[in-house]
């Protein structure tokens, strides 16, 4: 039969190398501490994970906005989508009203009479501009910033015609270039 040492006996220094010998006691100490830390860590992980939503009840990023002929000539502001819809005869394009600096809603400034501006070396006529109330960014009528902190132009989004009912569909997941036009 194996004899157990008395409880308070100090472990015999049997390894001459000097490294601490692993006894049953130190092993159990570490096992216990490890289990405690793993338990706390595991609980903390699942609590934090619970705060990352699995389901989002957010408005769709692709939606119908109505029949093309409902839109008057010129510009229409869609409040809930924060989007400017421009119509010139039968062509449409959509410019986001979300400032590219820090996300405030820009305001449209109608220019009457229209103004000649030079954008990237081309002279253009603009009927409106966008100004941001939060930090003073200013954009030309096609969305290029010319003053203030905005780093990039206002986003242009893809417009399509829904085949089933002929409504205009905006796709916020598809940014497009400034030459994009939807012909109806």
């Amino acid at each position: 039969m194996k004899t157990t040492p008395p409880p308070n006996a100090s472990p015999q220094p049997q390894n001459p190398g000097g490294a601490k010998r692993q006894t049953r006691r130190t092993f159990l100490d570490r096992l216990g501490l490890g289990a405690l830390l793993a338990g706390i860590g595991g609980q903390a992980t699942l609590m934090l994970r619970a705060l990352v939503p699995n389901v989002l009840y957010e408005p769709p990023r692709r939606f119908k906005i109505g029949q093309p002929d409902q839109f008057p000539q010129g510009v229409t502001f869609l409040e809930n989508q924060r989007l400017f819809i421009f119509r010139e005869q039968g062509t449409f394009h959509a410019i986001s009203a979300v400032c590219t600096h820090l996300g405030c809603t820009v305001k449209i400034i109608q220019l009457n009479p229209p103004r000649q501006v030079e954008i990237r070396g081309q002279t253009m006529e603009e009927r409106n501009e966008f100004h941001c109330p939060c930090h003073g960014s200013k954009y030309y009528g096609e969305g290029t910033p010319y003053e203030g902190p905005a780093p990039v132009p206002l986003a242009w989004y893809l417009l399509e015609i829904a085949p089933e009912d002929g409504q205009i569909v905006v796709n916020l997941m598809e940014p497009v270039g400034q030459d994009f036009r939807l012909m109806v």
Partner: protein
């Protein structure tokens, strides 16, 4: 406590000790006083050294906690009902206007007081270790910086809760600054909002941060802050007294004798007590410290209440994602940051860095980082510990003051000189009239 006292005297004797013996005893016997030293130097009590700003900020935190808990019974953290419940607090609840006003003004004053407390500690070299053993004042300075940042976060999360225009656009701008952070920006914003849109998920997160996490953090850090002051031997100005005594080479008096009673009758241990406890430098904490504390509590409450009665707490229009108010301004203490993010977009050739990153993250990050490491860069001697405008530290004091003045100038420009579309206006100029949408 001697016998023969009336019940009233038994209740208040610790605040009004009748003898030297009672004065010492009161600190040990009263739970509320036990964290004070039994003796306190006249220098530490002086108004002109500390202006009692740390004390005032703790009192303001207490006022905010009490009013905040009452407001929690009245406020509903839902996007549909938050605005209406705040409107009810303002106009229908008995004294609701006062509760909300005191909570709001208390927060404004606390931001200012904590800010000036930091300036005081910097200019007096209060973050520096002196001559006593086991001091670690740099750690306490770091705790203080985190407390300052927590105070700002508490204010930010607080003014979001009414879900008015100020709230909505503050979250928009605040979380878009987070979005501008490299690599982790998108995930941070998603986690803060609990989604991609500013909606119910965002409100409830900011509510829980405001009512539980941040106050708990402040409370824990406050306890640590106070404990460290005791471990560091009190306010930094005390070190000057000790330093002068060292220079005078006064022989240490062996004033305290600890006997190992009953174990070894003849062996005693002599301890050099702090000489600063001598009568010519120090007095009993009760009543000298406690009385002043009560006066500062009363003064803080009176000032906060008068400001509440005098200054109306505004409630803007309900949150409207389609219309940003013009101009859309943050509260005054964030306007220097709003000014920075508006001015710091950098364009080099075709390459653009958003002001959100430069003014919203990099510049404040550098400032906070400098504050955190400054005690370790300051190489001035122990003679500059706890002294206003120490000559040895004049260069760093001037740089510090220049930064403070720059922040104040940006705040003033943002507050008084920015009109619609963030255009510059002189304070006496009238703003252009704008058509109102409704």
């Amino acid at each position: 406590m001697p016998a023969g006292k009336t019940i009233w005297e038994k209740l208040i004797w610790t605040w009004k000790p009748a003898s030297e013996y009672e004065a010492g005893d009161s600190i040990v016997r009263n739970l509320l006083l036990h964290w004070f030293p039994s003796k306190v130097t006249f220098q530490s009590l002086s108004f002109r050294y500390s202006f009692w700003l740390g004390t005032a900020s703790a009192i303001l935190f207490a006022i905010l906690t009490v009013t905040g808990v009452v407001l929690m019974f009245l406020y509903v953290p839902s996007v549909e009902r938050a605005y209406a419940s705040v409107k009810d607090i303002e106009y229908a609840v008995a004294y609701g206007w006062f509760l909300r006003g005191l909570h709001r003004i208390g927060a404004h004053v606390m931001v200012a007081v904590v800010f000036f407390h930091m300036i005081r500690v910097f200019l007096t070299g209060g973050y520096k270790n002196g001559v006593a053993a086991n001091q670690n004042r740099p750690i306490n300075w770091i705790i203080g910086v985190v407390l300052l940042l927590s105070t700002l976060l508490l204010s930010f999360t607080g003014y979001l809760l009414p879900w008015d225009q100020l709230a909505y656009w503050a979250i928009t701008v605040g979380t878009n600054i987070a979005l501008a952070a490299p690599l982790v920006g998108e995930q941070t914003r998603f986690l803060l909002l609990g989604g991609n849109e500013i909606a119910q998920g965002a409100l409830i997160r900011f509510y829980v941060l405001h009512c539980f996490f941040l106050p708990t953090l402040v409370l824990l850090l406050f306890a640590w802050h106070m404990w460290r002051i005791r471990k560091d031997g009190g306010l930094a100005c005390v070190d000057q007294i000790a330093l002068h005594q060292k220079e005078e080479k006064a022989p240490p008096i062996k004033s305290k004798t600890y006997s190992l009673l009953g174990i070894a009758g003849t062996r005693t241990v002599h301890v050099e007590t702090a000489l600063v406890d001598e009568d010519r430098f120090a007095t009993n904490s009760s009543p000298s410290l406690t009385l002043r504390l009560l006066v500062v509590i009363l003064a803080t409450m009176v000032i906060a209440s008068l400001l509440t009665i005098g200054i109306e707490a505004p409630l803007e229009e309900p949150a409207n994602p389609a219309v940003t108010s013009n101009p859309a301004k943050a509260p005054w203490y964030f306007l220097w940051l709003q000014e920075l993010v508006a001015d710091t977009t950098v364009r080099i050739g075709g390459f653009t860095v958003n002001g959100a990153l430069v003014g919203g993250i990099i510049v404040p990050g550098i400032l906070a980082g400098l504050l955190l490491v400054w005690p370790y860069l300051d190489r001035s001697s122990a003679r500059s510990v706890g002294v206003w405008f120490a000559s040895e530290r004049w260069r760093q004091n001037i740089v510090f003051l220049i930064i403070i003045v720059a922040i104040l100038i940006l705040t003033i420009v943002g507050t008084f000189m920015r009109g619609p579309y963030w255009e510059l206006y002189w304070p006496w100029e009238t703003w252009v009239a704008l058509p109102r949408p409704f």
